[in-house]
């Protein structure tokens, strides 16, 4: 994007994306924009390709065909390490590194490149953002509960000062109560850290209550996308309506 020009392009735009693993087609003819909004939810039945979709957005995978743009530029025109610092990813399972919580956050700073290193976020502040007390810094990651682990992995992703945070079913392994608390934390992140969140979820109320934009996937393609309120009250697509009705 030339300097001085306002960037009005969507955060991500995907065009005719196809993803396959061996003979199995995972995503087909997938075209959709992800707007610059606070929280976008990716919903759909299991096996609809939600995680595979999310993995394309920080290039953990590349599609076999189609174009993906980030801020209007081809996603592969960004150096991959720089892209991944700007687009953080939180996995379904925490995937924490051995050592303490502080070790994990410091590794993210080391990997975060010059921007993250020059003015690193204070660990206390980041822990506070994910509602963990400062005493967690010295905890061994092997001794964390599922919910705590997921909070630490969100904190770790924040350390590189990303502008987008991709969350792959962050609450799927958690009890409902703990999941609710984590969701409240996540919904505060856009305001506090200026990040856009793109979140895969299989719990519809999560999408309904938290997101501003919802994308519905089925059988590897987008069947409907739009403002969450509209999609949940007056879905245009029959499959979306059926899915929402069954899932209720």
């Amino acid at each position: 994007m030339p300097a001085g020009m306002a960037d009005t392009s969507p955060l991500f735009s995907l065009e005719n994306v196809r993803q396959a693993r061996g003979d199995a087609v995972i995503l087909r003819d997938l075209s959709v924009d992800i707007p610059r909004t606070e929280i976008t939810a990716l919903i759909g039945p299991s096996g609809s390709g939600k995680t595979s979709f999310l993995r394309l957005l920080n290039r953990l995978d590349d599609p076999v065909a189609g174009a993906i743009r980030f801020h209007g530029q081809p996603i592969d025109s960004y150096p991959v390490a720089a892209l991944r610092r700007r687009v953080g990813f939180v996995f379904q399972q925490p995937a924490l590194f051995a050592g303490t919580v502080a070790d994990n956050l410091n590794i993210a700073v080391q990997l975060g490149g010059p921007e993250a290193q020059q003015d690193p976020l204070p660990i206390d502040r980041v822990l506070d953002a994910v509602e963990l007390s400062p005493s967690f810094a010295d905890r061994d990651t092997a001794r964390l509960s599922g919910g705590e682990g997921q909070r630490v992995s969100i904190a770790r992703a924040l350390m590189t000062r990303p502008e987008v945070l991709l969350l792959d079913e962050p609450t799927s392994a958690l009890d409902v109560e703990i999941a609710d608390r984590l969701l409240r934390t996540i919904s505060r992140l856009p305001a506090e850290y200026g990040v856009s969140v793109v979140m895969v979820t299989h719990r519809l109320y999560e999408a309904r209550d938290m997101s501003t934009w919802t994308i519905m996937l089925d059988s590897g393609t987008v069947v409907e996308a739009g403002p969450t309120a509209q999609l949940f009250t007056a879905a245009a697509n029959e499959r979306t309506r059926a899915f929402l009705a069954v899932a209720k």
Binding site: R21, N58, L60, R84, A108, L111, T160
Partner: protein
């Protein structure tokens, strides 16, 4: 231990014993009890004992013992005659050819064993190239150092030294290669979450795979270290045993053995490092994506 100087002086004369035995197939080296073909036939009685045990305990291993024994005899007799021939012809190219054949069979065995059970992206041909080249570099450099710098054999291709030493080096390097490659693949697969967590933070593949690499190299090198720890306590190494049987002074035999052990350490470390670093690259795309074919 204090070694009397005179004894060490005396011990230096005879050559590597086992090889000396083969040097002249017809006449055994002086002082060694000859093993005649009749004796060999008699030794088959020990195989019959094993077959008896198998029958008695219904192990169903009779066929294995017979086929194994026949293969061992055929292979060793063939190798014996080939060595006699190579020693007699005494040509550098023939020695190098023999080393190449040894390297190729080790490569074949290592890449077959390292493939693992799960369908990985990394195909056999690639693994073949990686293990072959790594063993060539690791074992070749070590052999060159030991024979040319340390023992200073004359002529440089002296088969009596090069062939058995290379055999030991390559045999160890082969085990280490198979272990390292198999372990690296399984670590990358089982630690996939961690590796991708690193990548997702902007880490290079080298950083992301550092822990699986470390574990693969450790797994490959520990048997060598254990070998150093127990040598002489649990058992006498084969080469040393052979030399002693052939009448070499144990004090020379141990010096050879020490050189051999250190040689194996060096060769294994070099080969393992080359295999792991190179093989790791095949698991990542240029865009730093972990590409293991997961069973869908």
């Amino acid at each position: 231990m204090i070694i009397p100087h005179a004894m060490l002086q005396d011990a230096v004369t005879p050559a590597i014993g086992t090889i000396a035995m083969l040097q002249d197939a017809a006449t055994p080296a002086t002082g060694i009890i000859d093993v005649s073909w009749t004796d060999l036939a008699l030794s088959f009685a020990l195989i019959l004992v094993a077959i008896g045990v198998s029958r008695w305990r219904s192990l169903d291993l009779e066929r294995g013992f017979v086929v194994g024994a026949i293969r061992a005899v055929v292979q060793l007799v063939a190798v014996g005659y080939i060595l006699v021939y190579i020693f007699a012809v005494d040509q550098w190219w023939l020695v190098l050819l023999a080393l190449a054949v040894m390297l190729l069979s080790a490569t074949q065995a290592a890449s077959r064993r390292a493939r693992g059970r799960k369908p990985l992206r990394n195909d056999r041909k690639m693994l073949w190239k990686i293990s072959g080249t790594s063993m060539l570099v690791g074992s070749g450099l070590t052999l060159a150092f030991v024979t040319q710098v340390l023992l200073r054999v004359e002529p440089w291709y002296e088969p009596q030294y090069l062939i058995p030493l290379f055999g030991m080096i390559v045999g160890n390097a082969m085990n280490a290669t198979a272990l390292a490659a198999e372990r690296l693949a399984s670590e990358l697969e089982s630690q996939r979450g961690q590796v991708e967590a690193y990548l997702a933070l902007g880490a290079t593949p080298a950083r992301a795979a550092a822990e699986p690499e470390r574990r693969a190299m450790t797994a490959a090198l520990i048997p060598t270290i254990n070998g150093l720890m127990t040598v002489g306590l649990v058992s006498l190494p084969g080469m040393m045993t052979g030399q002693i049987l052939a009448g070499v002074s144990p004090l020379l035999a141990i010096r050879y053995q020490i050189v051999v052990m250190f040689m194996l350490v060096g060769a294994t470390a070099l080969t393992t490092a080359a295999v792991v670093l190179w093989y790791r690259r095949t698991f990542f795309t240029p865009a730093a994506q972990l590409s293991i074919r997961v069973p869908v």
